[in-house]
């Protein structure tokens, strides 16, 4: 049976103000281990501490955006990032990340897409609010 690959989401598809979707993911060893392999395993590296936890908030933001806004054209570039951290996620916590399109704009021939990702943890406690500015490839 032939299958047709889904069409990549293009700049024209984005609707400012539209809720794009959400993802819930556990803060687990499966995330912490790879973070430590890159950034270090010692307490002074922030392993199992604040640096790791704050980084995993960023990782969860990216994983949510990439899972929700898919498939994407290859070659997108991250231009700017705002990140408000209210509280770092805890190991074992289920983090719900909600992705919204805030804006899109053509500037100097480049396609800019602004996305918001808001993360909350157990009991709905606010964890982070992020704004990604991306140069969309198509």
């Amino acid at each position: 049976m032939n299958t047709v690959a889904p069409r990549a989401i293009t700049f024209d598809d984005f609707v400012p103000g539209a809720l794009l979707g959400e993802r819930t993911e556990l803060v687990s060893d499966a995330l912490a281990g790879p973070w430590q392999r890159i950034f270090g395993t010692r307490p002074e590296d922030g392993a199992a501490g604040g640096a790791e936890a704050a980084s995993l908030a960023v990782v969860l933001m990216m994983r949510a955006y990439l899972a929700v806004v898919a498939p994407r054209p290859p070659g997108n570039v991250h231009a700017r990032q705002a990140f408000s951290l209210q509280a770092p996620p805890r190991r074992g916590e289920a983090v719900r990340s909600v992705v919204t399109c805030l804006d899109k704009e053509l500037r100097r021939g480049r396609r800019y897409v602004e996305l918001q990702v808001q993360g909350s943890g157990d009991g709905g406690r606010p964890l982070y609010s992020a704004r990604l500015s991306l140069i969309w490839a198509a």
């Binding site: 640096a51 704050a54 980084s55 990782v59 990216m62 490839a137």
Partner: protein, 128 residues
């Protein structure tokens, strides 16, 4: 927080690091992983993931203030120059001297040549 510069954090960015970060974030954009594809883009070659630098900034913050650095903060950064394979990044910052930015830090991530790859401002809560 205080009036001292941030302690720095460094990271060697090689192809293995980029692959590991791609797997951590599920970000397999070929601009980070495929030299032939990346060479044909306006970036002209492979670039590291932008948020890898953000994580390095967190490490500089942690080294400066410990866990309390993450009790609440606002960060706004721009990725001003690509991070290339083989570079060693250094993240740091200093108290902002701009009017109206008391308690804030101007933060950066720099490459081997000392030029900025990431610049921005950190506003620790709730002083700013």
């Amino acid at each position: 927080m205080n009036s001292q510069p941030l302690q720095t954090a460094t990271l060697k960015v090689d192809a293995e690091t980029i692959r590991a970060y791609a797997e951590l974030t599920d970000d397999f954009n070929p601009i980070h992983l495929d030299p032939a594809f990346a060479a044909a883009t306006p970036m002209g070659g492979v670039i590291a993931h932008g948020t890898m630098s953000l994580c390095l900034l967190w490490q500089a913050l942690f080294r400066s203030f410990g866990d309390r650095a993450f009790d609440g903060l606002d960060l706004d950064i721009r990725f001003v120059k690509p991070v290339r394979v083989g570079e060693t990044l250094c993240a740091g910052g200093a108290p902002s001297t701009d009017a109206g930015a008391d308690g804030c830090y101007d933060v950066w991530v720099r490459g081997d040549d000392g030029s900025d790859r990431v610049v921005g401002r950190l506003r620790p809560a709730p002083t700013c």
